[in-house]
Amino acid sequence: MPDLRIDATVNGRAISRPAKPWQRLLDFLRDDLNLTGNKEGCGAGECGTCSVFLDGVLVKSCLVPVAKAQNARVETIESLGRAGALSVLQRAFHKAGASQCGYCIPGMVMAGTAALRANPLAGREEIRERLGGNICRCTGYQKILDAVELTRDVGNGTLPESALAEEEPADGRFIGANVRRLDAPSKVSGALKYAADMTMPGMLHVQVLRSPHPHARIVSIDTAGAQAMPGVAGVVMADDVPGIDGFGVFVNDQPVLARGKVRYVGDAIVAVAAEDELTARRALDHVTVVYDPLPAVFDPREAMRPGAPVIHDDAPDNITKHIPIRVGDVESGFARSDLIVTQTYSTQAIEHAYLEPEAGLGYVDPDGVVTIISPSQNITHHRHMLARILALPINRVRFIMSPVGGGFGGKEDMIYQGILALLAIKTGRPVRYVFTREESIIATAKRHPSRTTLKMGLTRDGRICAVEFRMISDGGAYGLSTEGVMRKAAILGAGPYNIANLRMDTYGVYTNNTPSGAFRSFGALQTQFATESHLDICAEKLGLDPFAIRRVNAMRDGAVTHTKQTLGSVSLMRALAAAEEAARWEAGPPSSRGATRHDLGGAGNRAPCTLGARFAAAEHAAQPEKVA
């Protein structure tokens, strides 16, 4: 296909440039015009971080072919304001604390601007709808909605412009003050460069061949076809690792590139660096891998059975980690109980869905230091591991943490930095690897799915006599953070309660599923979901209020934890009282009494969402005029 020539007005300036017919407007803006303020989050029109104005209309530039920009007016985040000269809406985002990681924010700023252009008096529910095509994973949206409302109010004069200014702490004390985020101007203006926004002179582009099989022996890998392609500068696989291969947060069981076998769909096998991304991607078609499929196991309970397929030779029972906690004697505790309740709970795998897919750059500096720039959540540990993998002294490896567009634990794993290092060494040039959303989803860790059986014995007045808690969790193909997640799950799982007799076991198990790893709340979420649900089930059976049953058992100052640690001050009783008061809780047993409660529907609730109600109301309001 011949090149296009695009004549357009971009951010007020005329441009006339060639473009490839397959390019999206997003690629043209970011790669050709170096307007990297708007980001790519999903490539599917779902997240909205690539939102720009095309002839004044908010569009997702990842869904717009570049040809649509012909003779059009394009405005990106860079047109709205810059640090030192921010728009009112950008200043309101700064004031309200509406940006956290910042990766969704350029799109949010575009969508918020569009919302108020469409209706300068839009109410909060209408603003929600108008921002409904933009995903934020950090903020919970509340401060973003606050910021758009603040902009509206300053815009229509109901609030003075000074409402956007920094509040100086009266006493000059900065600890405890709502200081505006120092990094917000760079985020609301799109000026901050994340790894995928960075380029280096002579930079090559990386693509990775990943396993289509959940479990298979690699018989052979032939890269000759890829090596021979014009534009390909280097190809690496496991044999290129000079040192001791293997990384992981707790055990180093994952090779940089598959070594001898693959253990999940998405396991990296071969990486290519080429002059451009398309050539690198095409080169993968010229790599031939011969697989010998092995029996696979996808259920952790099956994986624990004798005779199950073995995923790692050094874990013949497929158990990554078992953490036991023992307090007292559960059998005597159950014998003393008036009520015993047993229930099974399960939780699903969860994707971190940080808006920034993984991306990084690698190069060897003039002094021979292998340098990686990436949104790593743990540059300290990554440096240790990469030095061992590369057989280099630790000060010949350097990690620079680029701004992180959301992590939530998912960027603690050194899942691609080793590939960048190997290709930078092999080619002698800077290399960059940017994941697609799909690649991020199949290749990187998830929250551990879990299945818990919880048996609790209590006295009639709600005192816990004994707890037996057993959780089996799918750790997937590699260890990553499984050991730590099982440990935290065990220590915290039975909740902040005095339990004289406890038998707690958490098991992380290898399977051929996508690996599970670190995820915000790290095992405590799965286990406390079980315990806190269970306490309500028991409270109903005993006719107790949910707060009351927790107070009976709550740890207090000087409590001894389940790991036999003596605590000092324990704020649980204060937290219970404060929540009861803030929510104006009406006491009573949890027995589906919703219909009869008097504490519902008060302050602190939002209006239920009824899509389109706004339009129906507007139409209704318009009817009498028509009749008249």
């Binding site: 959940p214 969860i350 405590a524 979901f529 803030a582």
Partner: protein, 337 residues
């Protein structure tokens, strides 16, 4: 009535910083020309606002403004180890390290100024960009104090680390001291359940969390609000599906995330039970914020419609099935009576 409301609550606890191992972090501080400051520590933002928090801590310790603090440098070759951005450890570990390093740098500056003025060092204060001696008229801008230090051949710097007194767990009974700081919390959720479709909307969450000491209350709220919405995603809609090792939710069109339309109003209540060990009294908030949300929502669904969801997520299909199951059970009971 097709839509029914209910309420539920849940409590939580959490440990601050790395689990069952000794945690540590370091920082370097320099009071710089013009009365500004440089802080170097191997950490960067993952969105939680730590750079602003560290700048506030340094500013308070040194008596300057947060915007006068240059912070970084997230680079293993240029900054001391601060280890990882996770485990609800940044404010606790790195915040305390920055405070200790800033105190050292300040002490160097104060010594020079005190000797210039001929007063005892413990009378010298730094605040609002100035250095002054109590009970005297001595006073000078911080920038002049830095110049004075340099004229005496002193660059006011500090370096400090903060470590935890913690242990591993016994392999048999799990006993040990996994953390030196714990936080507690409690959330109440109000939901509306559509009994025709099974759809659940969370309308309000009241969230109380002990954070030790809030360095930036708005930032703490941001962590609570964001944590609750992530948990709400897991409670109601998110589901990474995998069949025979292959995902059936490979993109954001299939993997459903909460949008601005799906989220409740969150009322945050910040409790401050100060940590007695660290120099600042701070603890943390990132992870505990999302721990009680899911059970509070499941308990609220039960309150609304009597359906107990024990397998996440509580999709409309599952909620509807649980409602029907409850109706079948109550018909059985009625028939038996």
């Amino acid at each position: 009535m097709a839509r029914r409301r209910g309420r539920g609550m849940a409590a939580c606890w959490y440990g601050i910083a790395r689990t069952a191992t000794v945690d540590r972090a370091a920082a370097w501080a320099e009071i710089d020309d013009g009365g500004t400051a440089k802080i170097a520590t191997g950490v960067t933002e993952i969105g939680e606002g730590i750079l602003t928090v560290l700048a506030q801590i340094a500013a308070e310790e040194l008596g300057i403004r947060p915007q006068d603090v240059t912070i970084g440098d997230n680079d293993t070759a240029r900054a001391p180890e601060a280890a990882h951005a996770g485990a609800t450890r940044q404010t606790y570990m790195i915040g305390n390290a920055v405070a200790l390093a800033a105190r050292q740098a300040r002490a160097q500056l104060v010594d020079v100024v005190a000797s210039q003025w001929g007063v005892a060092a413990n009378l010298v204060e730094t605040a609002n960009g100035e250095v002054f001696a109590r009970k005297t008229n001595h006073r000078m801008p911080m920038g002049d104090a830095v110049s004075l230090c340099k004229s005496r051949g002193v660059v006011p710097v500090g370096a400090a680390s903060f470590g935890t007194d913690t242990t591993g767990l016994d392999p048999v009974d799990g006993s040990g001291r996994p953390w030196q700081a714990y936080v507690f919390g409690c959330q109440v959720a109000e939901v509306e359940v559509d009994t025709l479709t099974g759809e659940v909307q969370v309308l309000g969450v009241w969230a109380v969390h002990d954070v030790g000491r809030a360095v930036n209350p708005r930032g703490v709220e941001g962590q609570i609000e964001g944590g609750i919405v992530q948990a709400l995603g897991q409670a109601l809609m998110e589901d990474y599906r995998i069949e025979n090792g292959r995902t059936t939710t490979p993109g954001l069109a299939k993997y459903i995330l909460p949008t601005a339309l799906d989220v409740p109003h969150v009322t945050s209540v910040i409790l401050e039970d100060r940590d007695p060990i660290g120099p600042l009294g701070v603890k943390g908030i990132g992870e505990p914020a999302m721990v009680p949300t899911i059970p509070a929502v499941m308990n609220a669904i039960y309150d609304a419609v009597g359906a107990r969801i024990t397998a996440l997520p509580a999709t409309p299909e599952r909620v509807l099935e649980a409602i029907k199951e409850r109706e079948r059970a109550s018909r059985h009971r009625a028939a038996a009576e």
